[in-house]
Symmetry: C2
Subunit: 130 residues, 2 copies
Amino acid sequence: MSKRKGTNAERELIKKFWENSWAAIRSAGSGKTRHPNPDILAANAKAVYAIECKSSSKREVRIERSQIDDLVSFSSVFRADPVVAVRFNHTPWFFLAPDILERVPSGNVKIRFEHAKENGLGFDEFFRKA
Amino acid sequence: MSKRKGTNAERELIKKFWENSWAAIRSAGSGKTRHPNPDILAANAKAVYAIECKSSSKREVRIERSQIDDLVSFSSVFRADPVVAVRFNHTPWFFLAPDILERVPSGNVKIRFEHAKENGLGFDEFFRKA
């Protein structure tokens, strides 16, 4: 996926947070700094989330183990809840906590559309419960 | 001040947070989005701060009233404490809460070096107390 498409997907998600009375920002230089850096931070009176976003035109997305490790370690210091947001072509966003992600033997994460649909939650389910 | 210099100042501050056991990120597209957007978000187990950064080679910096309003409204939704970080040439950072900033008649903010030095707190004073 191009960087621009990734950015657009993140912006779309940011908009959704604001529409639902959350404050959210995109982080600058995600993946380019020495410190762990989630794609999005969102919070309201009830919760704080650090979010790694992935969108794909295929039926699965891969995420490096180190990216998940960074998301979890950032969240631990910032006191946020880590979550992975994934969207496939023409599907809504699915939200998955790191501990329910499928791993390949190397430890990297593979999110299949079917797995996301079955185990992930939609925006309303995930963030209204928060 | 050039955009690059501003970015470098923000990066320097981010580094300082991590060195002091805070998690911090720079926000992307500060000032370019429709939603309020602080320059930096920093948090640890004790507090969450939304930070507007200004650095200047002069003896004073100006901040538009709307930027302060955005900082405060963002902080209100995100449940962060708003703070302005300011640094002049060859001085350390000073941290000032929005309510102690000096206003010019238009409502815009003017931070003079002398005012920052007298009323602002250094990193350790401001964030160790947090």
